[in-house]
Symmetry: C2
Subunit: 200 residues, 2 copies
């Protein structure tokens, strides 16, 4: 029986996804939030891990390198995603996720994804294809992204400059180019657009 | 049998919450997104409607006056909430929700909430109490909130001024007072803090 670990930051939705998989498929399902999974590391050893990319913390979990502390090697990754957040899709792709399930799809897609991924096969929902195209061309450079991410946390130009060891003028230039590239009207708009796309 | 309608913007989570309630309780459960519910208006007539306050669109659904188009009169409201978003709790309270379930709690709390609310009784998760305290004192005036909400959508000072029939200076004053009141460092920080709290 395929052992499935669901990682979700919200308790009730974690339980709900467990109930869904128990009702739909023949899986051995368990669920955890990031921190618990980390602590239970030794005992879990799932075959497939399902991660909702919209959870706060999902991005940094994936960035930390997927195979490792949480699940041990050998665990395959299925992500729940939306085409509107190409930045999140890209992070999952870079973390070598095998399964990509549209959060707006039907439950049987998730079941199929888990079955395929457990066999080591790739699974990608058609409806996410456009998001992948978008994900293939990050509009922003690494510098622009880090400036934007800090601005989104409320840092001033001077604070960002200090934090990244840049001059105020350089930070302003990065902000301006990021704003132009994402087609935003101003800095706040640039942050809004980039956050919705999952770039920052 | 209690007829329960789940309103959630994400298809997979809608199905998951349905599976949870089918497994845990003896309910007649169906689910929809806002738009579908609107269209199916005539047929639904649930006793209890469960709404996730974190869904985009939940706030405006509640603001539009709860009893009415979606469910018809007589439907009672249970919301899924977190203590960290007092603004969302307040909107649910103003829409006269009877049940308040912590999204980080166990599924049996949701089941109990639905049972109590179906009988016309109030249900509030203890863990949401602090959020309610926060919700009782909105830090911002209606004007400050509307200025902040427009700024969060990327509008410039001049655009906000035109939209609200105010002078640029007045909009700047509202932005400054909102920034001060929420303890923010600058406008972007004020938007970030207010969005996290669910005020805008």
């Amino acid at each position: 029986m395929t052992r499935v670990l669901i990682l979700h930051s919200v308790g009730l939705l974690r339980s709900a996804l467990m109930a869904l998989l128990k009702a739909e498929g023949s899986f051995d399902v368990f669920a955890a939030c990031w921190r618990t999974a980390w602590r239970q590391e030794e005992g879990l050893r799932p075959d497939v891990c399902v991660v909702d990319l919209d959870c706060p913390g999902a991005a940094s979990l994936l960035e930390g390198g997927w195979e490792g502390p949480v699940t041990g090697t050998g665990t395959r990754l299925v992500v729940l995603a939306t085409a509107e957040r190409p930045g999140a899709l890209r992070k999952a792709f870079e973390a070598r996720a095998l399964g990509y399930v549209d959060k707006d799809g039907s439950p049987c897609r998730l079941v199929r994804a888990i079955r395929q991924v457990a066999k080591g096969e790739r699974f990608v929902d058609e409806s996410l294809a456009f998001g992948f195209l978008e994900a293939s061309r990050v509009p922003l450079t690494a510098r622009e992204l880090s400036v934007l991410a800090r601005a989104a946390e409320g840092e001033s130009i001077a604070e960002i400059a200090r934090g990244l060891h840049l001059s105020n003028g350089t930070v302003r230039n990065y902000m301006a180019s990021a704003t132009r590239k994402v087609g935003a009207r101003n800095r706040i708009d640039a942050i809004r657009i980039s956050q919705r796309a999952g770039w920052v």
